[in-house]
Symmetry: C2
């Protein structure tokens, strides 16, 4: 015979905290407190199993009814009161309680058991008619609202009318008579709205309330919430029926909420507030100002001491910070709830570290106590949560953190202002590599177009620069130096705040809270490093980023994009000469100018990484990215013509011609990656020369260098074989000339479906694989990361996609392909080292996936390195548990 | 004990024609002729096995040497002559002969066995000193060239010197003395170049010649040829040593080549030519004009009658047209070679049909006798093979057939000229949908950019319009209405010829041969239809194409692209209104205007197909394709401004704004396909309404209609499910309103790797799959079909890719993905109908692949339908053989 009803309290408790699946979180924890000898008002929990059966059959079996009746009788017995007793009725609360806290379901009905008759009994018993009718009218309204589905404002309106009629302001100004009249009117509303009389039989009241809780599991808000949060529909909710206690029975009564530690800072100090002679809702409503919890020690010392003891007991028992609710009824303390307390990022880190030091938890537990997005909060400035915000638009949250500054519309302007010490927000249609200087100078970047891996997003995250992209509602009017959005007109120099963690664009100068990378976090991450199996590298293109990433714990560079080195002011002329070259000879001449600069880059990066592996990706983007745009050139042409500068005209005309020749309809699928290296081998050769000369020089100085040369965009093993041959030739030449031996590797990006599907063949030529999940997502979905902004929002709204696949790795499609690639690759080389170097390398669910499919490392932007370290450790812990 | 040497002739023949692997093609057929009692000069074949052993060990086993010697002795015996006999030496030819004819290997050494001494014997024996020394000097030069590797021109130069010295013009003016002197000088050259004396021992001559044949298997040209043609390196070549016969021994001697039927027309009439008193090379050299073969009947009647008999015997035996070589020595006929005769397309078709009717071959054989590219020749005009061509450039052969016309640079101009009855070649940087009218009006299209599946190529093939694309050397100067290429300047109105089968661009007006779709081809294709299992549909977007394709044998439409219907002059304004619409309401209004036009389209197409299935793909391209380009609009803006047309300015400005909003960086991966249908459901809904109303009307008239509605660019099953829902709703509404039931299907394109990898999930929602191999190739490789022209040529040159994957399906990558998709799809729906509707559907190797992986049909442009029918049948025959 199944047990459907679990009693708790009065030393007669059936459940315990581990039974959350059956009893729900609230019910299980009430039982657990009762087991610990903590005073809880007695009650019983009807299990989630009953919910599932009821929803299926829309009725209860005899056995269930029997067990519920038995529990009611027991509850009457331990309280020595009977439901519906005209003189001293048993009053109860009815609450829902699923496995996890779930908004959208029916919440609470208080004072259940009051009737037209028993309310009089209560009035006499407590000698307070006003108290009794206040309870009664509240009960009728709550019942009408949550059980019968009548809008609460209809009851509220009647209270308003009454106060208007009496010309009073506060509910407390209403007398017992007024409240009694209101109760009558409320019953009329119920009759009018539902056609039924307000039930005067407490058993019927109770049954209707229980049914309503169960039915609320399937209301549309609850279903939606489950869908979004991946909660199974067949879990069901439990119902808790509990004896009422009252904090509003005079100055020895009270009620409060508290945390066992400070949920904001993590400080180990009892934290909370209370009100004397009040009900729970009064604390929350904010009409009276509650007192800090410590004051309770002076007012009701015995109850306070007991409360402090209980909190210690609960923390020691649950080994985590608790969030509690209590009521003191005429000096006697009752605990109404305990649950794990929500906390800020800073508090999470501090509490985890403190509890480890208090030997309450072990390292693994400490590491799992921090959520990845909390680390993110700690690493970026954020908006003061108390600030009032005028949000004028919303884009994609592309690079976390908040930024405040004056609006500018060009990268040059941002750079200029930075020199003057001004803070700016750079607003652009989209950014291009030429904007990098301006992006670095601005506090934050806002773009009209582009997705989570658009140029602005990738560069923003790389720089740790707050960034909101794809804010399509914005219309920029460059001529008048302003932008319009949703009826607002924002001009250059107007203050703007952007929140790269939410995508919000906010009017004016909002107060920010600065980032903090504190000792506590450091300690947690060191423990994470001890646990995790997955390596964590960084994507870094210059010594500064590399150094930062090392400080943040990177174990190497997983992706050094050499193209970013080409945009420097000192390089771009040589790069353009190279592109404008008519033949191989001229191209080689231009490349020769670039060689020493590239070599300097690598010297710096290798030095920063002090012997850790550095994966250098050879040139990837199409050459036209390094030329001015056609529009810019046409502008230039006009200028030169106006100035009668014939040389200039010719030069620009030549460049225009080249821009036209290089023009591509779909540059993402065009002449880039190893395709460049195969058609113009001299480019890659120069890069390899620079890498190897730098490496040899450092080795000669006694340093350790571990270069890993990576060929991008390989789809066919012959592309890799061809490129590899050239790399080896140059590497061997350099080493021979310099008389130095460097241990170098040659590997490839796996970022095209064809590379995945032929990974066995490609593995034969590769020392390592690095999954380029940005490009792989583009080609697997056929989505241009720069253009998805036009339909991804609709896709999310229509629930076609849960996430932007450029932000969260698509495990079903892209991930499935990766598995094929890994399997094929390892079928040829079982120890082939494999990693991810796409933007997903810093996203928690993608990091977990990377670990689960057997990758060796993830590589992410410097500011995501701590997150990756944490999540990698959590993933290991989860895997061990399985 | 292995048999290494096979004797033939003189009723003592060891081999037969089925032993081609061992004896090579030539040796096996010589043996077969001998077996048939046909006179061949006796000889022997050293097997390919010996070649393999020799190349491995660089020497011969004792057994091989023994067998060769035995064969030589037998040859001496049957000829009653001895090698090196000073008075009457045995003279032989030595020829290579692999399984398949293979250029690049050593070819032939004639007159082997002559020495300084035996040449005198021959002179006396035949009483013709000049003959003997002519043979000798030829032998020395051939031996020097092919055995010793001395450039032939060194010998030729000496003959030239001699003629200059003697002031004569022709070799025949040289006397016996002159030739003897030349022979001496040739021997000196050999000594000088190689350091060895010209060998005077015929056994050594023979051994050296045999070694040289074997060694030539591994010379670089032969290796290259094998690589390109997928011939195994370990096949080896055989060596044929054969008694010399001479056609130049007077007026009862002669030599000739012939075909058993006319290789040009296929007519069943003995066809060939001969010369009396001549050697084989004289017939080929063209110094004397040979006589038609029939004349031989008058000159040497007995030999002629015998020759005709032999030809009949050979044809009956080999059951195919033969290409033969013969020599008559003093009245006696010798057959030197027989092999399957090469033939023109027309001949191939006629011969196959005739032979079937003559009961020489069966249907399956007839069908395998035609090559796919021969059908292509028959369906398109081509350049007269005798014409002299001045090829000025070469592009990609995008749409077969040749075209001649005057150069024009705009589609409008091409249309204008067509109205005036002028033939034009439209030369464009690239074409866009707006050029379609001009393309239709021009004779052919030539573009600077674009690959095998660029717009010009696809539309060209669809129209059956000759087209050369990606001719990157061309520089168009629109301002001066000319283009420059490789030093040529071609102006508007200059005549130009393009060959879409070779990619050649030819100066001037070249003579063309018209296409012929004759009865013979029709007969063959009907037999093919009886054999094949693979369905053949067509890609057609209008009733005319649909009708043409039906005539060419299409069994349905596999791809009807609705976007092409949007470009009509009467539609484009409504299409643009739809795109310019500010909201759904305005969009619906514009769509309402399009509805009746779309319905007319479908009525026409359904009527043309008379009940055959018609797969209609809902709108696929991004909306910006339907708007003018930014450049065009800016031009317009100037005009309106100049004319102070404020309304016009505003209208154009609005459109410019929309063009900017819709602009995409990678439109191929952008807002298109079902992404459009999901963000603007009203577009698809209108199309479905048009399809279903048309279908219902026809069904009401008593016609049969089988619409298959296809959702493009699905990557996630939810995209399909969402779109399908909308389709069903509209379809049911229409059918209900019209009171008609139509049997319709809803399926999807599989053209994204994600669709492939989740094909099991997608199958659950699909009635059919159509593999869109164009897009699948783009995303699998990460190649933009419009941009590959920049590197594919280098890839082919560097042998990274064998073929342009947009022309020939990449079986290793894209094909492997298709297999996964098929397997996953059928794992859920075993009978799921699947086809190909990319451009590969008309390419022979891709059609074979489609059949081998279990697709149900291919769909291709109308002019490729006959090819697909043929190849599908051949594929079935091949599969049955396995």
């Amino acid at each position: 015979m199944s047990k459907f009803v679990y009693f708790f309290g009065n030393n007669d408790t059936d459940g315990k905290s581990s039974m959350k699946d059956l009893l729900g979180g609230k019910g299980a924890n009430l039982a657990e407190m009762a087991n610990l000898g903590i005073p809880v008002p007695p009650g019983f929990t009807i299990t989630t199993e009953v919910c599932v059966l009821y929803l299926k059959n829309k009725k209860y079996s005899e056995e269930i009814t029997r067990q519920v009746n038995e529990a009611i009788e027991k509850l009457e017995k331990v309280n020595n009161k009977k439901l519906g007793d005209p003189k001293d009725p048993l009053l109860v609360s009815v609450r829902s309680g699923a496995r996890v806290s779930m908004p959208g379901m029916m919440d609470t009905v208080l004072n259940l058991g009051l009737t037209d008759i028993s309310v009089e009994g209560v009035a006499k018993k407590v000698n307070d008619e006003r108290f009794a009718y206040d309870c009664y009218r509240r009960f009728i309204a709550m019942f009408g609202d949550v059980v019968l589905g009548i809008e609460f404002r209809k009851f509220d309106a009647l209270i308003g009318d009454k106060k208007k009629e009496l010309k009073v302001k506060s509910d407390t100004d209403l007398t017992a008579k007024d409240l009694k009249e209101l109760a009558e009117k409320f019953k009329e509303v119920i009759k009018l709205e539902t056609g039924i009389e307000f039930p005067q039989d407490p058993r019927i009241q109770l049954q209707m309330a229980i049914d309503a809780v169960f039915d609320s599991w399937n209301n549309s808000r609850a279903i939606k919430y489950r869908e979004i949060n991946n909660i199974a529909d067949n879990w069901g909710t439990a119902v808790n029926v509990q004896t009422m206690v009252y904090g509003n029975m005079g100055e020895t009564s009270g009620t409060g909420v508290a945390f066992t530690r400070n949920p904001s800072t993590g400080e180990k100090r009892f934290f909370g507030e209370y009100l004397l002679n009040a009900q729970g809702e009064d604390v929350v409503a904010g009409i009276r100002t509650p007192n800090p919890i410590q004051d309770l020690g002076k007012q009701i010392p015995e109850a306070y001491r007991q409360l402090v003891d209980i909190c210690q007991t609960l923390e020691a028992h649950f080994r985590d910070m608790q969030d509690i609710e209590f009521t003191i009824q005429e000096g006697k303390l009752y605990m109404l709830q305990t649950r794990t307390g929500k906390r800020t990022a800073a508090a999470a880190v501090k509490v985890a570290r403190d509890m480890l030091e208090e030997a309450l938890i072990d390292k693994e537990t400490a590491v799992t106590r921090i959520q990845a997005d909390q680390i993110d909060q700690l690493l970026h400035p954020r908006i003061n949560p108390d600030a009032e915000l005028e949000v004028i638009a919303n884009g994609l949250p592309a690079s976390p953190g908040a930024a405040v500054g004056k609006v500018v519309f060009t990268a040059e302007e941002a750079e200029l202002r930075a020199e003057l010490g001004e803070k700016t927000i750079l607003v652009r249609g989209e950014t291009s590599p030429e904007d990098i200087g301006g992006m670095a100078s601005a506090q934050g970047v806002l773009t009209v177009r582009g997705g989570m891996t658009s140029h602005a997003a990738v560069v923003g995250r790389g720089m740790g620069k707050p960034c909101v992209v794809g804010c399509g509602e914005i219309v920029i009017d460059t001529k008048n130096a302003l932008f319009m959005v949703n009826g607002y007109t924002i001009r250059e120099n107007d203050y703007l705040t952007i929140d790269g963690s939410t995508g919000n664009v906010i009017l004016g100068e909002v107060e920010l809270i600065e980032a903090e990378l504190n000792e506590d976090l450091h300690a947690i991450l060191v423990w994470a490093d001890e646990i995790r199996e997955l390596g964590v590298r960084t994507n870094a293109d210059n010594p500064a980023d590399a150094g930062l990433a090392r400080e943040l714990g990177a174990e190497g560079i997983g992706l050094c994009r050499t193209e970013h080195m080409f945009f420097g002011e000192d390089r771009i002329p040589a790069v353009r000469d190279m592109i404008m070259a008519e033949d191989e000879k001229a191209r080689k001449k231009a490349l020769k100018k670039l060689l020493p600069m590239q070599k300097e880059d690598f010297l710096g990066i290798f030095r920063s990484m002090e012997g850790l592996p550095v994966t250098v990706r050879l040139l990837d983007p199409p050459l036209h990215e390094f030329l001015p745009t056609r529009e810019e050139l046409e502008e230039k042409l006009k200028e030169f013509k106006a100035a009668s500068d014939l040389d200039g005209v010719e030069r620009v005309n030549l460049m225009l011609q080249r821009v036209n020749t290089l023009k591509e309809l779909n540059p993402m699928l065009g002449h880039r990656g190893c395709r460049l290296g195969i058609t113009y081998p001299e480019i890659y050769t120069m890069q390899v020369k620079a890498i190897m000369e730098a490496a040899c020089e450092l080795v000669a100085e006694g340093a350790k260098v571990t270069p890993e040369i990576m060929i991008p965009l390989v789809g066919h093993v012959k592309e890799l074989a061809f490129s590899k041959q050239k790399v080896i030739e140059m590497a061997e030449t350099v080493m021979e000339e310099m008389g130095i031996k460097v241990d170098y590797k040659i590997g490839t990006m796996i970022e095209l479906p064809r590379a995945v599907i032929t990974a066995d063949k490609i593995a034969a030529e590769a020392d390592f694989f690095s999954f380029g999940t940005n490009d792989l997502t583009q080609t697997t979905f056929g989505f241009s990361r720069d253009d998805v902004g036009k339909f991804i929002p609709v896709y999310k709204k229509e629930e076609i996609l849960e996430n932007d696949p450029f932000a969260v790795l698509d495990q079903e499609g892209v991930g499935e392909l990766m598995k094929i690639g890994i399997e094929k690759g390892r079928s040829v080389k079982p120890d082939l080292k494999m990693g991810i170097c796409g933007e997903h390398g810093g996203e928690p669910s993608s990091i977990r996936f990377a670990h689960s499919i057997g990758l060796n490392y993830v590589s992410c932007s410097p500011y995501r390195v701590p997150i990756a370290r944490l999540v990698a450790a959590q993933s290991t812990i989860e895997a061990r548990k399985k």
